[in-house]
């Protein structure tokens, strides 16, 4: 990795962790469906997506770990809850309701695709190269989520009702995906996380809105107030700490041991 000034190191760490933590939690939630999804063929597909989410997170933890002299596993599993930068949406349980799993994925996949489009133009060449590779896989996740939402929206009354309920239930948490990480403005100015045309929120709303409309559903996401503090700055709810405890149960038995 190119030499980074101390001024950029902390904001870049926060930004990369925000993406990696989102993906770890999302992949973790999706992986829980392995063996239990509604259709065997989809079980295999959704499991593949969960593996890609976790693998993307692992690649980003590797970058962060190298910056700080820690292993990717230590970064992934060895932090205090307040040091995680994921948005609440990624760790919200789905209660094995397929519509919630799909909507959570839809919101996050579209958001990730936009983030990786920006990072692929980063002046940090290693981050740009990695983001291009991840972005290509992310595009397939977006396609998967889009197709499912449309299927559910057009799949009869019960399915439509459930899909709409999931959109409504998760729209509040969706707004907090856009909470900025500390120092992100510096990264934008320095070309490490170049801003694109229009705001991230507007582009996301346009992309997701198109799919929602095609599914015959509706979505209203109200932007969070600029001073709202959430997961991107380490403020997490109980659902997150519970999930983290479960995830780290074995790791914490002997954190120094190889498993």
């Amino acid at each position: 990795m190119q030499e980074l000034s101390d001024k950029l190191k902390a904001p870049l760490t926060d930004l990369l962790l925000s993406i990696a933590d989102d993906k770890l939690m999302l992949g973790h939630g999706a992986s829980d469906w392995t063996g239990l999804a509604p259709i065997l063929e989809e079980d295999i597909a959704f499991s593949a997506i969960s593996q890609e989410e976790i693998a993307h997170a692992a690649a980003l933890y590797e970058v962060v770990g190298t910056m700080h002299g820690r292993s990717a596993d230590a970064v992934a599993f060895g932090r205090e809850p307040s040091a995680y930068r994921c948005a609440e949406l990624t760790s919200l349980g789905d209660d094995f309701d397929w519509s919630r799993a799909i909507v959570r994925q839809l919101f996050c996949d579209h958001f990730d695709l936009l983030r990786f489009e920006r990072l692929a133009r980063s002046l940090l060449k290693s981050v740009a190269a990695l983001s291009k590779r991840i972005g290509a896989e992310e595009a397939t996740h977006v396609e998967h989520a889009d197709v499912w939402l449309i299927r559910l929206g057009r799949g009869g009354d019960e399915s439509k009702t459930r899909a709409q309920a999931a959109l409504n239930a998760l729209s509040g948490a969706a707004a907090m995906l856009f909470e900025p990480t500390d120092g992100v403005d510096v990264l934008e100015r320095e070309g490490i996380y170049p801003a694109g045309e229009g705001s991230l929120f507007d582009r996301w709303q346009e992309d997701v809105g198109r799919v929602v409309a095609e599914a015959g559903l509706t979505l209203e996401v109200v932007p969070s107030p600029a001073d709202a503090v959430g997961g991107r700055r380490g403020r997490h709810g109980e659902s997150f700490t519970g999930l983290l405890d479960e995830m780290c149960e074995v790791y914490r038995v002997e954190p120094e041991a190889a498993w």
């Binding site: 999804a37 599993f77 498993w259």
Partner: protein, 349 residues
């Protein structure tokens, strides 16, 4: 559907059926010449039903077998292990999918098979009725249980039904990866801290007995072996496979520093504890290589336990079926949305 049989009445083994003698003779000659039977070939009713039963039972076992390890996906202790475990469980679901397809072609719909599984009409492999209470159990399942499955499936890949044989070959390639991953996990634990080694030994103690039972009851008690061996639906007897398994795993376990115990179990599948708080187990006195035969000796597992568990009264029978039922019911509205009915994708035919 070509030669399919659909009602459950017709899907029963019935040795009183008089098949056409000329066709039977030609069929047997084809099988004796190591020929393969394909889905649209003529086959005796009892061959079809026997093959369907076996493939369906195998498919059920794959998707129920995904459950004990699946419980540990959310708790895997490193990124690498987490990824490997999700991929492994995904493979098992994939095996289930392939085997349900094979079974569908033999004449039973997938939805009927899944419904029979969740209502307890059909069974799955007995070994999955045991608990996996620690991470070390995941390692032992991948090493010991998948090792047993490979041995069994290699013999099944020598069978006579073409679609099943080809599926076995594909599955075995993937199982070989699982086995290596399991071996690596056991080796890591046995090279680790005292606590990790103890976890591994305790898990080994839980799984050794069920793995000996894996190959089914002793040949003298097995009713299915005879006719199905003639048709090469089965190609090796239970006892032959069990002996080959012990020959492979007894020395391997000892080389890794694991001891082979005879252990008394509680109804919950965990090892019973003596009054002084130590596990109620002794080393199996028969575990040694018999130079004269080249085979390892071993104490037979508790066959009363086997029949009790297979009869539904095992540590996790209810839990496993309940979770599959939950998944079936949770997914019903999704299948309706996608396919317009509660059913599942139809067979290719």
């Amino acid at each position: 559907m070509s030669a399919g049989v659909t009602s459950s009445e017709e899907l029963r083994i019935d040795w009183k059926i008089q098949e056409d003698p000329d066709r039977m003779a030609a069929f047997q000659a084809h099988i004796d010449a190591k020929g393969l039977v394909e889905a649209d070939d003529w086959m005796p009713h009892n061959y079809r039903v026997g093959m369907l039963r076996m493939a369906e039972h195998h498919a059920n076992s794959e998707i129920v077998g995904a459950l004990p390890e699946g419980e540990w996906i959310t708790r895997a202790p490193s990124l690498r292990r987490k990824l490997a475990l999700v991929a492994k469980v995904q493979d098992e679901v994939g095996h289930g999918q392939m085997l349900y397809r094979t079974s569908q072609d033999l004449g039973k719909s997938r939805d009927q098979m899944l419904r029979d599984l969740v209502t307890g009409k059909t069974r799955y492999h007995n070994v999955f009725n045991y608990p996996a209470p620690t991470w070390a159990d995941v390692a032992m399942i991948q090493w010991l249980v998948d090792g047993a499955a490979i041995l069994n499936q290699k013999s099944l890949a020598e069978g006579s039904y073409g679609p099943y044989v080809r599926t076995m070959k594909r599955i075995n390639m993937e199982e070989a990866f699982h086995f290596k991953s399991g071996e690596d996990m056991v080796l890591t634990l046995m090279s680790g801290t005292k606590r990790q080694r103890q976890m591994a030994q305790e898990a080994f103690d839980r799984w050794w007995g069920p793995c000996l039972m894996f190959f089914g009851p002793p040949d003298r008690e097995s009713t299915k072996t005879g006719p199905f061996m003639t048709w090469r639906i089965k190609t090796a007897t239970n006892d032959t496979l069990r002996e080959a398994y012990v020959d492979r795993f007894a020395p391997a376990a000892r080389a890794l520093g694991l001891n082979i115990h005879l252990a008394r179990k509680n109804p919950d599948g965990l090892i019973a504890v003596k009054a002084d708080g130590t596990p109620d187990k002794i080393e199996d006195p028969l575990i040694r290589l018999d130079e004269s035969t080249g085979h390892w000796g071993f104490t037979q597992p508790d066959w009363d336990e086997f029949y009790r568990v297979i009869g539904g009264d095992g540590p996790c029978n209810k839990q496993r079926v309940a979770l599959r039922r939950f998944s079936y019911e949770q997914g019903r509205w999704v299948r309706q949305a996608v396919m317009g009915c509660a059913g599942l994708p139809p067979s290719r035919n």
